[in-house]
Structures are given as C-alpha cells and as structure tokens.
C-alpha cells in the first residue's frame, strides 16, 4: 500500500502547509494549503516563493481542487502540487492531468491499482498543462496546435 505518492524528482517538501489566510498574511512560509472554497488565484502573486501547495479534498466528489490545480499550473507554478484528503485511485489520472504531482491520500492506495489506473488509457482528448499531446494534435501533426 502507498501512503505517499510523488512524481517529482528529489525529496518531497516537508514544511507544514499553512492556511491561505495565514500565508498571505505573513512573508516567510513556503507551503500553503488550499481548502475547497478558497481562491487559488490569491496565491498568484506569491508563486516564486512557494515550494508546496497542498489542495485538500475533504470528499472525493468535490471537484473544486481540480480547477485550483490547473489555475496554478497555468500561471506557471512549478513547485510541488499535492492532493491530500479523500484521494482515491480512480482520481489519480485526472489529478495528474490537472497538474498534481504528489498525493497524500487519507487512506493508503493499492500500488497495483495505481499502476493499472495510470497505464489504462494511452491517449487523452483534451489539452491541459500536463504536456500530453491530445488526440486531436496527433491526428493533425502538421497544424499549428498539433
């Protein structure tokens, strides 16, 4: 079973994450935790000094964290982006596509199930910030967006 999953090179950030309110109110923290109702864009002025953003999923069905992750990556955030909470094996692929590169699920994940999930689909239909070429680009390699 896996308690922590990382797709980053090197050590995971160990610094405890502070709340968005605490983070924007002080200057020295480098790790922050976003709750579902919070606006990821509040962090955009501070991306340079962040090394870890945790996005909390209190319940797997609350998908706001997917938008938060993509917004941060679209704005150029390159640090660790960690999904925490009710993170299930069935969500890992979509979370990876939205820019999450580490996972700290409340309940450990089955390694084999994670492997199966990550390798099940060869291709994707949408372009996101994960760098994967969508199917439409593969169909039209000669075009601008291809």
């Amino acid at each position: 079973m896996v308690e922590f999953l990382s797709f980053r090179d090197g050590e995971a950030t160990q610094e405890p994450a502070v709340t968005v309110e605490a983070f924007t109110g002080q200057s020295n923290a480098t790790a922050v935790r976003i709750e579902p109702g919070e606006d990821a864009r509040e962090l955009l002025p501070f991306l340079d000094r962040l090394s870890l953003v945790e996005v909390n999923f209190p319940g797997f069905g609350d998908g706001r964290g997917y938008s938060a992750a993509r917004i941060l990556r679209e704005a150029g955030y390159a640090g660790e982006l960690r999904a925490v909470g009710d993170v299930l094996v069935d969500q890992i692929v979509a979370m990876r596509r939205c820019g999450f590169d580490s996972f700290h699920p409340a309940k450990p994940l089955d390694d084999a199930a994670v492997d199966r999930a990550l390798n099940r689909y060869d291709d994707v239909y949408q372009k996101t910030i994960d760098g994967r070429r969508p199917i439409w680009a593969k169909r039209h390699p000669e075009t601008i967006n291809g």
Binding site: D62, C98, D123, G146
Partner: protein, 543 residues
C-alpha cells in the same frame, strides 16, 4: 455518420476493461457498494427499485442500423426483451444483472457505442436536433460540433466532479426540436458575416427550479468553442453551490449571481483560456464534418405519394416531415402506442427499425427527446412500404405532437426517486383521448409527465404538464399549463391543488374543452392559453 478511429476505439475499449475490473472487485467483495457506487455511476449503471439499470449514450441521437440492431440484441439477450428511449437521447435497459454489465459494454464497444458519462456529476451525453442534416433551413449540421464536444467532454480531467450533472445541447435551426434552452448550456449555430459560430445560452434546466436559459454570448467562433466552454465550466465548477444538491445546477449559480455577473466572470476566464491553445485546429472539425457530409441522394425522384389508403394518408400527414433533398422525406416513428409505455421498444421492434434504416434510410436512425424514432432519409416512393411494415409491428401510430404523444419518465414502476407512477397515467390519458379525430381536432398539444420533482418527464415544458407527488403516502398529480420546450420556450404554471390519477385525466379533458371553445382560427392549445391566461381553465377545473 461519425466513425471511430483507433484513438476513439482504444478509449472505449479501455473503459470496458476498467469497468470489468471494477465489477470483478465488487463481485469478489473487494469493493463495498458504497465504494462501488461512484464508479458504476460514472458508467451509467444505476441500482433501481428492482434491478440495475444501464443507460447507454446515443450521442446527438444518431444511430446506424448496425448500432440499432446491437441495441435490440442486447435487449433480447440481457434484458427482458425491450429497451426504453429517454428524453436525453439515451437508451435504458431496466433489468440488467451486474455480472453482465461488462459484457454489455463490450458489445456496445463493438459497434462504437458506450455508456460513458451517462450519469454522475459530469458533462453528459451531448444532445441535438433529430432533423440535423436533413432540414432545409439549418445553418450547418450541428452534429460535427456535438461530436467535437463529445470527445472534449469524455474524461475531462477538470470537469468530472462538478457540483451537479451538466447537459449540453447543439442545434442549428430557428425551430428548436431539442429543448435547447432547457439545458445547462445550449448552443445554437448561427452564421455571421459568412462565418459559422454559436449563440451560447447558459443556466437552463428543469428539476425543482426550472429556468429557461438566457443568452450569455452572441457569438463564439468554431475555432474557440472549446476554450469558451472551458471558461463556462470552470466558473461553474469553482462557484456552483455544493452545499445543497438541489441548488447545485448551473441555473442556480446564474440566477443567484445574475446573468451579467456570470457573463463577466466567464469572459474574464475566457480571456485567460484563449492564451492556452486549448482548441483543436480547424482541421479537426473539418475531419469530423466529412463524416456527416450529405449522403449521395438519388436525383430525379418523384414527389407523389399515393394516398389511396386512408390510414396511410393519415399517417403521412402526421408523421412525415419535409426533407431538404427532392423526392425524400423524414419519417417519424411513434413509440407511443395508445396502450404501450412511452419510449419503450421491444427487441423485435428495434430490429425491425434497424432493417428499415438499412433498406430505406441510408443506414441511419435518429432518436428524439420526445422518445420517438426517426428515419431521416426516406424516398417518398418507399413511404407506403415502410408504413405497412411499421403497422405490422405496432409502430404506425399517427400521433406526432398530439395529446397522446406523451413524454413520460419511468416513474415509480422503475425509478428509485419517483413519488408516483407515470406510465399508468400516460396510458389512461392515451385511452381517454384515443379517438383519432378528437386528437386531430385538438392539434399540437404536448403533454409531459414526471413522476417526481426531478422532472425527467419535462413536465415544466409541456403545453400540459403533470407532476406526480406524494401526499401523505398517496399519489397525487399536479397539473401545469403553458410550458414549451421549443423555440418559444416557457415554463408551465401550476393550475392549483392536485388530483388523483383519474381526477387529473378529467381535469385535462376540461382543459381541452375550454381550448376548443375559446380558440380562434389556427391557434394551438398553447397559443390560446397564452392569449386568455390561466383563469378560464382554472374556473373550468375547480369551479
């Protein structure tokens, strides 16, 4: 028709494999029902009152004969010999065994079909006009857009756990046959300065808080539609309510923050999305469009129809619509026999329609939101032969858009959410108004029944709508008048206190009597209601 390439097929096949794995884990006890539920729901498998129900997507309501035949085979092999066509251009099997579900999905995949995202809080099957590609007045065939959106929305990584389900519709004519403005997002293709794009409507829907979607953008070009929709969905995903599932649809967000504020937020997000290169190149829509090119219609065909047989003539007048190609017609097949279940078709009927499509309709079938079927490319010279075959199979009812062409949800006979039975009521109404002359006299009269407030039977959009409720353990039926799901979209108003099953049939009869007494030349029921208002009807019902 669109055909999968190896990419599309590979995704659908992988889904079958994934679901087979999930079902095996469930059957082996490795997953509890609680853990399994969200997984099966992402794949259209519901646990209903008596059995599992599997909902199969019929993207934008278009089927080939081979696909239709497969639906019939599945009905015969895995269900009790029939399928139910729904108001969302899906097909439901009501008697499925869990252990069979992966095999059914594999059979569907063999004809390029699936059940992906037919449930769950994600973007659902994209719906469209059943006359797409064959009506003379359309701006462009809306189905290439719908297919583009089908692919974009399949396993969308950001929008799979939305606040609530999300329904998108694409049409391309002034006549709205798909209830476009009652969708979470409705697109209406338009041409501006020689360029095709879409008017975008957002925040429509039925359920317990019905809304007609307002226009939120006058024009989005085809090369930007994906990034614009990403903006619409992102604003909804971030700010749609999640504290109460009954207030979680986008219509509530648009209503609570206001159309202007929603538009402003979407435009802001759109400005950002535009910078990300999210849109497929024009070549991709062109590639899809090529699949929907007009078929090779025969030329020099006659326009004459031999109307010697009066029953046939009646059917032609009611069920056949104008086609854009000379010598051709659009055939509507009623799934509303007077004693049947609205939208149900037996395996044999499904097979028959598949055969007719092969022989007479250039291999194509359409499914309508009113739970009927369409043969879109029929030579006028073949109409009589088709009618005879339909008649033998019990499919030649001539009631399109008449009072017995009832939309009804499955209701308490099947559905775990329902408060009341829709099907027996639909049958009682159909029997009360069975007389063909009487139906014809009443003219266009769209009657829609929902067995609970979730409004799957579109009661808000019925010229006459009926909502089944539970009143202290007894089924009770509220009556609504004046709704429309067409281009003149409006929401029905409740007449007053509800009725028993028989009482509501009597009330409908009184309502139609008022219409017949009050109408002026050429007025439909809906027109008369709009002109004279609720009062005379109310007096007749309760007075």
């Amino acid at each position: 028709m669109y055909r999968y390439d190896s990419y599309d097929q590979s995704i659908v096949d992988a889904r079958v494999d994934e679901f087979r794995d999930q079902v095996q884990r469930r059957l082996a006890g490795a997953l509890t029902e609680d853990q399994f539920k969200p997984l099966r729901l992402m794949n259209g498998l519901y646990l209903q009152l008596h059995a599992y129900m599997l909902r199969v997507a019929i993207p934008y309501g278009t089927l080939s004969a081979a696909q239709m035949r497969k639906l019939g085979e599945i009905a015969a092999k895995y269900d009790k010999g029939y399928g139910h066509f729904t108001t969302r251009q899906n097909l439901q099997y009501n008697w499925i065994k869990l252990a069979d579900a992966p095999d059914i999905l594999a059979e569907l995949a063999s004809v390029e079909m699936h059940a992906i995202q037919t449930s769950g809080n994600c973007i659902r099957n994209i719906s469209s006009d059943q006359y797409a590609g064959v009506s003379a007045d359309e701006v462009a065939d809306p189905r290439p857009w719908a297919e583009l959106l089908r692919q974009w929305s399949s396993f969308h990584p950001e929008f799979t756990y939305l606040p609530r389900k999300f329904k998108i519709c694409v049409i391309a004519t002034e006549d709205d046959r798909a209830a476009m403005r009652l969708h979470d997002i409705g697109l209406k293709l338009v041409e501006r300065d020689g360029v095709i794009g879409a008017e975008v409507y957002a925040g429509g829907g039925m359920g317990r808080t019905p809304m007609v979607a307002p226009l939120i953008r006058d024009f989005v070009g085809e090369d930007e539609i994906i990034s614009y929709l990403e903006a619409c969905l992102r604003v909804y995903n971030r700010y749609g309510r999640r504290d109460n599932k009954y207030k979680a649809r986008i219509k509530i967000l648009v209503h609570e923050i206001g159309v202007e504020e929603y538009k402003r937020q979407v435009e802001e997000e759109f400005a950002h999305m535009r910078t990300l290169g999210l849109n497929p190149p024009t070549e991709e829509l062109d590639r899809i469009r090529a699949f929907f090119a007009a078929p090779a219609y025969e030329t020099g065909l006659g326009e004459d129809i031999d109307r010697a047989d009066p029953a046939f003539a009646l059917w032609v007048d009611r069920q056949v619509a104008a086609h854009k190609a000379p010598g051709y017609a659009i055939v509507n097949i009623s799934l509303k026999p007077l004693t049947g279940i609205p939208g149900d078709a037996s395996a044999e009927q499904i097979e028959l329609v598949a055969g007719l499509a092969e022989q007479y309709s250039l291999d194509e079938i359409r499914v309508t939101h009113a739970q009927n079927l369409v043969l879109p490319h029929v030579k006028k010279a073949d109409l009589y032969a088709i009618w005879q075959k339909l008649d033998e199979a019990g499919l030649a009812e001539a009631n399109l858009d008449l009072i017995t062409d009832i939309i009804a949800c499955p209701g308490l006979d099947y559905c775990a959410l329902a408060n009341a039975r829709s099907i027996p009521l639909a049958q009682k109404i159909a029997q009360r108004f069975a007389d063909a002359e009487r139906q014809a006299e009443l003219g266009e009269l769209k009657l829609k029944i929902s067995g609970c407030i979730n409004a799957c039977g579109h009661h808000h959009a019925g010229h006459i709508g009926i909502l089944g409720v539970d009143r202290k353990g007894v089924e009770n039926f509220q009556l609504l008048l004046g709704g429309s799901g067409a281009e003149d979209a409006s929401l029905g108003q409740i007449t007053g206190p509800g009725f028993s099953e028989d009482g509501v049939v009597d009330a409908i009869e009184k309502v139609t009597d008022i219409y017949l007494a009050e109408r002026t030349d050429g007025e439909r029921f809906l027109d008369t209601y709009r002109r004279i208002g609720m009062k005379p009807f109310k007096e007749a019902i309760y007075g």
